[in-house]
Amino acid sequence: MQTTAVNGANYLTYQGKYKGLLGWILSTDHKRIGLLYLYSIATMFTTGVLLGLAMKFELLAPGKTIMEAQTYNSVFTVHGVIMIFMVVVPGLPAVFGNLMLPIMIGARDVAFPKLNLLSWWLYVAGVFLVLAALLFGKGSPDTGWTFYAPYSFKTGTNMLPAIFGAFVLGFSSILTGLNFLVTIHRLRCKGMKWMKLPLFVWTLYGTAWIQLLATPVVGITLVLVALERVFGVGIFDPALGGDPILYQHLFWIYSHPAVYIMILPAMGAISEIIPTFAQKHIFGYKALIASTMAIAFVGYLVWGHHMFTAGMSGTAQYYFSLLTFIVAIPSAIKVFNWISTLYKGSINVQTPFYWAVSFIFVFMIGGLSGLVLGALATDVHVHDTAFVVAHFHYIVFGGTGFAFFAAIHYWFPKIFGRMYDKAWANTGWLVFFVGFLALYTPMFYLGMMGMPRRYYDYLEEFHGGNILSTFGSWVLVTGFIIIVVNLVRSARKGAPAEANPWHGRTLEWTVPSPPPVLNFDEEPVLGEKDGPYNYE
């Protein structure tokens, strides 16, 4: 089994019922669908990055630099909608979940392959709906990605396609979650007991529950906003007796758990990478599982911390603040376990490892700055400032984004059957990492000093920090280009990869690279002593 299969019939080359492009976009093979997601999400991510770059350029100097205030509003709205609903929410589950989950549990495919393909089509439909909002109608959406009432139904811009697009993307996310839940429950191979599941699978499991149970709430809330725009039903309209703060509650009942949809699979990928490159059993396997499920559960109960300044009773504020501090504990447990896994490990320093340790670094800063926002007194000071933007990007870009890059560098040889150029990959990581720090770290300072978020202009005193931040965005994009060029080139021309280049212990490393169409020649069986992190 330890052979390469670049020229054999693997999932990349096989010929099914349809030829060419149709063989991809109509394929129900989980690996092909995973790649479809990878390409779609990479495209949307690049779009989002360009919008972010434009915003940073606008903030290079006070006053108008390259765009009007209204354009800036649209740019940050579309940047947010793209990055949240099309990149980080589907991100790791849809790409690496689809590519690796069935193989990791010894299955041939997910439970409902056709439904899986439908999820991708819904994703594409959602993308086009949102893009339609940009091209047609009276101006691009300008509400911010949160679609806050009452502005979302008072503004004259083209909100309906964007709202409907977000709804469709949510539906896609629900179906993926449903599929994964059934897959994990029903399709584990013999001997793959719950306490032998790889941690990435466990995090996908927790994530899937959140996708399933939180997304419908934002779905109906968005429908209500649309109905408000079209008919004026009054439910969120204060002029008709409705309560816009109720909108915020319903929105965050989904959108806070959604943050855990973003970060849990990222944590799962890191939990795979750390033991592989420490070449050592993961420290605290059960604690990592428990913390995953604790995050998934407690994550439902903290939404109010987005609304501390919006109008809420003191009692509610105390509880939401307390729960916010509690939800930080399982994340801290994870960091502790990752560090402990490294201790006395025989560390194999490779690109995925660089990404993983830099993930831990930025995730800790992001997490601890979250406590500043979760504490009632300090939140009043930094609410709606650049500090929030910095915190959020440290967690979601530094967390989920870095984990995504860690995962793509980790599973790349498995996915494409080829190895990337390691020197360029390391260079890309370093440039990206430096750019990231330069881009977001000044925003903590700027926020503390009182620079508000979502403004295209600022006072002269904030100039220095913004110059550094904009400069950082250029460095980051340079790193991003290096990474993408290296990976795209290597996917075609890289040296053939071994089946198990990193000496991983999970099942996906037992099949050839790239995997055959049906994953396994015969269904694998996990013995009593086999386990995902069984390093002697």
Partner: protein, 207 residues
Amino acid sequence: MEHAHHVEHPDMYDAESSKVGMWLFIFTELLLFGALFVIYAVYRYMNPEAFHLAGEELNRVIGTVNTVILLISSMTIAMATTALQKGQRNVAIALVSVTFVIGLAFLVNKYFEWGVKFSHGIWPGSEHMMNEMSHGEVLFFGLYFVMTGLHALHIIIGMAIMVFAVRGLVRGKVHPDRPSLLDNCGLYWHLVDLIWIFLFPLFYLIH
């Protein structure tokens, strides 16, 4: 592996998976309506008198009739699944068809019920509502139209699934060893029924 070109995916049918998948989907539906029930609870708490007044405007007779016929339809679809288990395909087809007709009857009632409201000038954004009703009444009718409308949409989806189930039964793709489509159709229909069981007292009965 060199020549393993036309590889087809194996048939992965698993009745248990289908059932679990349907139950999970029902969870999402419950949360979809759950958010609306939360909104209803909040606004009822804030506007008790207006909700009382507005609730009197609804026709309890039609509401009761619709409740009864939906309960009967839940029975007929349950009988259809049992009939299939016993291998009585034609009985199953007949029972699903009866359920479909009852669903249609529900929609017809709903059509007349909404029609009467419209003729009284009550619809979201109407002049009558904007100028002569209190905020609480506007919210009541806003929620009434959204929630019963969304429910009616689910009735339609449920009926569409029935069409597929009957087609499967006729073509022999749904049979006692592969009943998931009909079973799930039934589960979904019970959900639609169950939601109505909550909508009915909330809008028509409690004052």
